[in-house]
Amino acid sequence: MYKQGKFIIAEKKAIAKGIFDMTVLCPEIAAETMPGQFAQVAAEGFFLRRPISICEVDKDKGTIRLVFEVRGHGTEKISQLAKGGLVDVIAPLGKGFTVLEKGKKAICIGGGIGTPPMVEIAKQYGENATVISGFRNAQAVILQDDFKSNGNRTILCTDDGTAGLKGFVTDALTSELAKEKPDIIYACGPMMMLKNVTKIAADNGIYCEVSLEQRMACGVGACLVCVCRTVKNGEEFNSHVCKDGPVFDSKEVVFE
């Protein structure tokens, strides 16, 4: 069930330049949130809410964690909310990741600000998940300690080699697959990265889910603005990121 309300901000901090980490106390939302779902967050003074992926859920504490990048004036406004204040949230929204049964192995791939939704899904797999994250440079690296405390194996890549391996997440994925094939691949990040991950997964015969991003209005599936091209049984049609997604079977996404 969708829920809307104003909830207390339990924690808030910057974790990299322009990237904020906000923990929101909302037990009724936390209780129902699945990995890969998102929240619509109100920005005071702005007409539309901002869709933000849910990075992590703590059902015991009744919190959800939102890690987001300041992209414009709206997200900047949200970033100025302070610990102890209130944030207006609609959640949990959208279709999240498929979680396989215990013992299955996963590779989780995050590119830049596509990394946060990987925390909760990788947590489900513990040591059976390998997380490959890619960032522009060392200053942009986030969430590596969170993956480590999940028990995940981590592979860090940067475009300029200032942290971890120099290169793209797809390079790391290819070398991983040469060693061992997981049961599932999850990915979130720029469209070009998702397109390449999708191809690699298909070439290796591995089921892959990608989390997409689009400009949204309602966030619940009513207004139909957050369109993406999808294909099923050979037929192309428009789906909506907020309700049909944000997570899609990568074979069903039409990349331009």
Binding site: Q214, R215, M216, L224, C226, V227
Partner: protein
């Protein structure tokens, strides 16, 4: 009779607050927030003869106090509406307004004819969608064609007919008079105002369709003005919409001449907006000793 119940061209509504077409789907999503029976009615997503995929994305751009959209009437077609949505909607104890949009005059009439025998309470003929190439605003910006399509639909249906007007015209009263003369039982206004935003980093329009319809509080004063002008120019009732976000807005547009109110883009920010407006109108009536909300319709005293 309760304070908020109204008669709108022969249809009894429990209150005058109705989510606007295209902002509420068929109610399935918002039913997760509150029972649809609280609403006066629902104007469902614009329905066309055949399934439409709509325009490519991005389809939305934020604006000061509003937004542009270029959805382009994406919907499953009238058969799916009748077979899949109607059986669900009839159980919701609220009035059902079918918003129909055809690419040709004949198609509009055919759509209306297909709704005969259904439980639709009121037809809203959309001659004002700014995001489609055929029909839509091409019908709603020409007095003669607006009259023709209204007549064709009226002749094809026994249901009350409301025509949704475009604000993108020189004289909305002329269009309103033309649809009234051709059998419209009511008019609804305003649809969105045509607008554009450009991403200055890329030099490209934000909308893939380049232009789109502006809605939200930004258009509210335009809506109030047009409702006032139209209500003074025709005898048929007016359903007012365009940027209504609060109960105060609802009172204002009703004073301008709207017998009922549609709430649209405000729902995206606050899913409870229609409910808050209903509760606010009820309290307004109590506080001002108003027996029925209809008493405020058109009561503005112009200078």
């Amino acid at each position: 009779m309760s304070r908020l119940s109204i008669d709108f061209c022969g249809v009894a509504f429990k209150n005058p607050v109705i989510p606007a077409s295209g902002t509420f789907g068929y109610g399935r999503e918002y039913e997760q927030f509150y029972p649809l029976s609280k609403l006066g009615g629902i104007s469902v997503k614009g329905t066309t003869l055949n399934r439409r995929e709509g325009n490519p994305g991005p389809r939305v751009a934020e604006t000061p106090s509003g937004m542009l959209n270029s959805v382009g009437l994406q919907n499953g077609g009238v058969k799916k509406f009748l077979e899949y949505e109607m059986p669900n909607l009839v159980t919701k104890d609220t009035r059902i307004i079918a918003n129909i949009a055809g690419a040709t005059v004949d198609e509009c009439a055919e759509l209306a004819a297909m709704l005969e025998g259904s439980a639709v309470d009121l037809i809203e003929l959309n001659i004002s969608c700014p995001n489609v190439k055929a029909g839509g605003a091409a019908f709603g910006t020409d007095c003669t064609i607006a009259g023709q399509v209204t007549r064709a639909v009226k002749d094809a249906t026994s249901k009350p007919l409301m025509v949704k007007l475009s604000p993108n015209v020189t004289s909305i009263t002329d269009i309103a008079k033309s649809v009234e003369a051709n059998g419209a039982d009511a008019v609804s206004l305003i649809n969105t105002l045509l607008g554009m935003r450009i991403d200055i980093k890329t030099g490209r329009p934000i909308l893939k369709n380049n232009v789109g319809g502006l809605s939200g509080p930004a258009v509210f004063p335009v809506a109030v003005r047009m409702v006032w002008q139209v209500a003074n120019a025709v005898k048929i009732p007016v359903m007012g919409m365009g940027g209504v976000a609060t109960w105060e807005d609802a009172v204002e547009i009703m004073m301008a001449g709207a017998s009922a109110v549609q709430v649209g883009a405000a729902i995206f920010n606050d899913p409870y907006a229609p409910i808050k407006i209903i509760d606010g109108l009820e309290q307004y009536c109590i506080d001002n000793n108003i027996d029925n909300i209809s008493q405020i319709v058109g009561t503005v005293k112009p200078w």
